[in-house]
């Protein structure tokens, strides 16, 4: 067994033969190119979203989200006593953590805490949660990415806001997150892992659609102003559609218990 040799033997994932390697799509200067996305979607078409609340019984609230191959579970615990020795505060604290399973990505063993995503998740939700409704206590939001299929962070954020709602934590609105990748002159929404790997730039918006307020906006890479404006509009539209799906998921979960 593995424990026999003391130190674990070094292993490697067998590589694909180089001929079938995923290539960046042929390059284009026009905005109309003859290139289809590997999953057959249009450039401005999101993957179909699936949400379900109450995935984890032992948590105060939880949600499962599945966008194509991106699969995420978020559990919410609390409000409960703040464990760390922290300064007194009239407001509640939000504690976020995002981690990956070891099999989430194609290479084994990269699963661990994702500090960057944890902070981003915290910043995206902070503005939406009514922290003053649970003074002196902490609400823990823990996310586990079961499988990474691209656009992980926006899916985690949307799923987390749904889990918070499931836990009965007061919020101004649900937070929906969508990202757009820029490929040359083209904008593709809700990119999958492969598309993210050859993008020139990416933009993510998380917003509260009924308030028309943005809680987080990140832009990386190379963008032209015109593209940027178009991408933001695309994201905002997609966010409001996503929020409708999330809202109907909450309604579905609540309706059977009434009768």
């Amino acid at each position: 067994m593995a424990s026999k040799g003391g130190a674990a033997p070094s292993t490697y994932t067998p590589a694909r033969t180089p001929t079938n390697k995923a290539q960046r799509p042929p390059f284009f200067t026009d905005s109309d190119v003859d290139w289809t996305r590997s999953d057959g979607r249009g450039f401005h078409q999101c993957r179909s979203a699936f949400f379900r609340t109450g995935a984890v019984n032992s948590a105060a609230g939880s949600a499962y989200a599945e966008f194509g191959n991106t699969k995420v579970i978020v559990s919410v615990f609390g409000p409960r006593e703040s464990k760390k020795a922290i300064m007194y505060s009239d407001k509640g604290r939000l504690n976020c953590n995002v981690s990956y399973t070891t099999f989430a990505t194609t290479v084994h063993g990269q699963g661990s805490d994702n500090k960057e995503f944890s902070t981003m998740l915290h910043k995206a939700l902070e503005g939406a949660v009514m922290l003053e409704t649970f003074p002196k206590t902490t609400v823990d939001v823990f996310a586990l990415v079961l499988e990474s299929g691209g656009s992980d962070l926006p899916v985690v954020i949307s799923c987390a806001s749904l889990a918070l709602a499931d836990a009965g934590i007061m919020m101004y609105d649900l937070v929906a997150g969508v990202s757009v990748s820029c490929l040359g002159r083209n904008l593709i929404i809700d990119p999958i892992l492969e598309e993210e790997s050859f993008q020139d730039g990416s933009l993510m918006i998380t917003c509260m659609p009924s308030h028309y307020e943005v809680t987080q906006l990140t832009i990386t890479g190379e963008w032209s102003t015109a593209n940027l404006n178009e991408a933001m509009q695309l994201c905002l539209d997609a966010c409001s559609k996503l929020a409708k799906i999330m809202r109907s998921c909450l309604k579905d979960a609540a309706s059977p218990s009434k009768d």
Binding site: M1, P14, S58, K71, V74, H108
Partner: protein, 303 residues
């Protein structure tokens, strides 16, 4: 418990939920004396169990097991290693059990649950000693290359009987495992053979064309029971485990041979008759679990 005259009569006046929280043991014993449990199960019955294969597309084999609300996700990734000199014809299995913070209010990030490494060790011991997997089937090129199967099990929801659910998901993942077809290239490295090209333009012969599935012999199944006074409670929930602390886990293989028996201490000492009763309950449970596994596998083949 601020009530000064907290006596037996109180139970009739108090609300059920309050009684359950304040006097959990008495609450349970009242149920046990009627041969029933708070979730309406008889003492010897396990919770509803489901198994689903192929839950994770990025892994070579995966399974999701649910016992009541205890949920386990197991996935196997195959990597290539150089086999050790003492066993050049054998591959290897590395099993890891994780309890991420999402699964229970007790686990917090940075402070892993104590139970996780214990269950991890139990699982690897059980799987290796049951002889379910013939490590020779994981060999690719004798002395040069063999498979290392990384089995990672994540607890998504912890509600008691974690080992039972973890073992079931592990068995499910192994029976779902599809080993990728590979070949040995000129540099002595193992490379993937994509299924589309059908070997037409291949210079290297695949080394494992016939070995895509593992033959699982004598599959281990387990049942955890709680011993409390003279009662034996099969398949406990997290609440039951926290109140009554003596646990017994019996692992039997599909032909009812004893693979392992764990009784990690606890205030109740097991009588011989109690041990026999636990084994008898497990024998019944193994039949059910075998049926669930068979049904799940045949369901996959139809699709």
């Amino acid at each position: 418990m601020g009530v000064p005259d907290a006596s037996g009569d109180l139970s009739s006046e108090m609300e059920v939920d309050a009684f359950r929280r304040l006097f959990p043991l008495r609450y349970f014993e009242r149920h046990l004396s009627e041969s029933i449990r708070p979730d309406a199960r008889p003492l010897g019955r396990a919770r509803d169990t489901t198994l689903a294969l192929g839950a994770v597309a990025s892994a070579h084999g995966s399974a999701l097991a649910k016992i009541g609300s205890t949920t386990m996700l197991a996935a196997i990734k195959m990597e290539v290693m150089t086999p050790s000199t003492e066993s050049p014809e054998e591959g290897s299995i590395a099993i890891d059990f994780h309890m991420p913070p999402i699964c229970s209010p007790i686990v917090r990030p940075g402070r892993p649950a104590e139970a996780a490494p214990v269950i991890s060790k139990q699982l690897s011991d059980t799987i290796s000693s049951s002889g379910m997997i013939n490590l020779k089937e994981l060999s690719l090129v004798s002395g040069k290359a063999a498979w290392m199967a990384y089995l990672d099990i994540y607890c998504l929801d912890a509600d008691g009987a974690l080992f039972d659910a973890a073992l079931l998901s592990a068995v499910g993942a192994f029976s779902h495992l599809q080993i990728p077809i590979v070949s040995l290239n000129d540099d002595g490295k193992i490379v993937l053979v994509s299924e589309e090209d059908d070997g037409t333009k291949l210079e290297d012969e695949p080394v494992n064309k016939e070995k895509r599935k593992l033959t699982l012999s004598s599959i281990p199944f387990s049942l955890t029971c709680i011993l409390h006074k003279n009662y034996i409670l099969a398949d406990p929930t997290a609440e039951e485990e926290s109140i009554m602390e003596t646990l017994v886990t019996v692992v039997l293989d599909s032909s009812s041979r004893l693979v392992s028996f764990y009784k990690p201490g606890g205030p109740v000492l097991a009588q011989t008759s109690a041990v026999q009763d636990c084994v008898a309950l497990t024998r019944q449970r193994v039949k059910d679990l075998q049926d669930i596994l068979d049904e799940t596998i045949s369901g996959m083949e139809i699709d």
